[in-house]
Symmetry: C2
Subunit: 470 residues, 2 copies
Amino acid sequence: MNYKSLELFFKPKSVAVIGASRNPEKIGYQLLKSLIEVGYNGEIYPVNPKADEILGLKAYPNMSSIKKPIDLAIIAIPAGGVPEVIREAGEIGVKCAIIISGGFKEVGGEGVKLEEEVKSIAKTYGIRIMGPNCIGVYDPHNNMDTLFLPRDRALRPKKGDIAFISQSGAMGVAFLDWMTMENIGLSCFVSYGNKADVDEIDLLEYLMHDEKSKVIAMYVEEITNGRRFIEVARKVSIIKPIVAIKAGRTMEGAKAVSSHTGALAGREDIVEAAFKKAGIIRAYDTHELFDYARALATGRIAQGDRIAIVTDGGGAGVMATDKLTDEKRGVGLKLAELKEETKNELKRCIPQFAIPHNPIDLTGNANPEMYKNVLEIVLKDENVDGIVVITLIHPPMMNEKIVDEVEEVYRKTSKPILVAATGGAPTQRVLRAFQERGIPSYPEVERAVKAMRCLVDRGRYLKKLRGDIH
Amino acid sequence: MNYKSLELFFKPKSVAVIGASRNPEKIGYQLLKSLIEVGYNGEIYPVNPKADEILGLKAYPNMSSIKKPIDLAIIAIPAGGVPEVIREAGEIGVKCAIIISGGFKEVGGEGVKLEEEVKSIAKTYGIRIMGPNCIGVYDPHNNMDTLFLPRDRALRPKKGDIAFISQSGAMGVAFLDWMTMENIGLSCFVSYGNKADVDEIDLLEYLMHDEKSKVIAMYVEEITNGRRFIEVARKVSIIKPIVAIKAGRTMEGAKAVSSHTGALAGREDIVEAAFKKAGIIRAYDTHELFDYARALATGRIAQGDRIAIVTDGGGAGVMATDKLTDEKRGVGLKLAELKEETKNELKRCIPQFAIPHNPIDLTGNANPEMYKNVLEIVLKDENVDGIVVITLIHPPMMNEKIVDEVEEVYRKTSKPILVAATGGAPTQRVLRAFQERGIPSYPEVERAVKAMRCLVDRGRYLKKLRGDIH
């Protein structure tokens, strides 16, 4: 099937909500509310045989009675009724359906049969199915939101350029919420659940063509069609980076996956080899998924592994250096050796007692302008492939102007610059401001260093593809 | 020297602030302000020859003119004037001095000589010196605060039971600020800078006897007297755990230390062996220091390595399992095998379609009461040495009552329970509430799992000391 057939999941001109409800405790109520609150600008048709109106919208007893074209059916009724609804949708020419309902393959037994029935009907009518057992789509660019969780409980990230697809709805929501907290922008989100039809492979293909998505983050527990997955992911990852958490990578984790979704997690060594072949960047711990994704979303890669560290805290500089250069507990990159010329220039703009070598410690006398001057000098140095900038906000002359000064330099270079600072609320404000300007920022120096490693790896990967090195 | 001689740094009946200033841009102003704002309840004597009154307090031209007993002198004047001030302090019987001023050993040359002079004078008069080149003490239990950073820039943690000593003032402040954000309580903080006199060894001895400190966190770049350090730390760590970041552990990091403070970071293999011998728990990344410290501060240890995971998100449970059981990228603990009896009991209180095995997935139908019931059952199981409780807040029946329910169970057991949840502001509120009740909580499942490892290690260490295992 063509990736274009997925477009209606993200920008349908009209949607029918089957199982729409007036009861705020019901999924069919929250779902409708999310669509309204996100400002969906097509037609919405609530379907509920027992209501005339829901949330101010005229309700219909069934889809057939709507008598207008329906691009997308969103289904939130008990599993047993779903096959019939899909058949009705097929009869009136609906092209896509998101089946939110659970009670299919994931519960085993009858559920498996029910899912097969749905698949077969959908195939007959050529309807594309997302789910079942999923939470669907959130696309802030197209004002599309099928998440049945209230916006004040499950925060929605702002518009951005990171696509996120998740096999698990709960993990999806938790990550979206986390993205909001860290002020990371989203291009679109898909929870695809049991993947009766649309799976991660389809979505990767779709997202490859989605211009607003600069990077694809994914949470998966099971890769169904390994060979095809590698083939597609490899093609996609040349165009835009893919970062993935593959949960269930230990024997015990794999067992847990099987009871979570009935899926087979697959052997870790095979997954590892497959991801490598496909050019997928692997995230392990929770924070890594979006730490890496946001660094990669800048489109900047490191042309080599020689990194400079600029800091206003000596200790923080030492910790970043440890993480950077350690092969075992760190990322095994190199501390850039500054050229003599660079050192001489630096001497003129750092405090008198500071020593102009890498990590470059501006000391507690640092101020925003000093950062700008130093960064400009360091960026000219051909021995530097990327910079981790540590901006502790506590020194007396430091203030929020640091964001402007660093941004000014950032705009003039194509080398990667990642920011880090440790601290409480005032620090978090500065970090959010950096993120707002599109400069990735991290609450721990180690996280910035790990993200820099990603940009080095990405650079190596692209070079290898181009045949520069073998 | 006796550890008791350090008491006056934390609870002096009177302090003189030498270099007190009316200029808000000066250290001597902020310092005085901090003392007032923290509610220091002894006598404060600002010393400044050019002022009659500072911040509403009568000022004195010098210490001799105060004519009243002074327990502690806090010195914030240019380095050159410090020896004379120490001599004056000695003459009038001051017992302790914190030298905030920089410009000593850390700048080399003349600074080294100046520091030697100060040491020699202090020795003559028997004055204990903290610093120079430090920010001194913050002790919320004794309303003591010599930090010269405004409270709205460098947030101060609440009262608690974690002591924190830091060689670096800047890292100290950054960590305090971080603790505030994560709602972690502090027993006292010391930045001891160049350690002309008081060093980490003295402080460990002092803190061993400090009842309000249940655990000691430390940031060090250099251990001066290795043999004595091991001896004291070993003695202390039997009584209360010590968690330490030793920065400068790579070759490049060690070089950076040397230009940061002029100190020798020491060979990593020696440090590693020394810490192990001393029973010190090592933290590497920024978050680990207080993640471990707060778990250890509960006083609970795991009697074995068999851990249960209770979750309302299948995916989060899988990720926690991966981290728990992975030897290479995780902590290499065991997923507890629940007894048949436990499983049977669990069946009665988890959702019908949920499977009663570890990780125990309460699914999106979880509610706070279900957590309580499940935890009570799991805690009875002798195969379980500790529990990681994942409380994603997004499922419809989850709410802040989860904190009460978990706490109720927590109070009735001595097994360690650590909480984790991923998400934005609403999640962070719940995590802070857990922390408020003394139940360690973490924003990532992996961080909780790593902290649990600490409690297993601590358990092993104490057992080994008691000769149970060899």
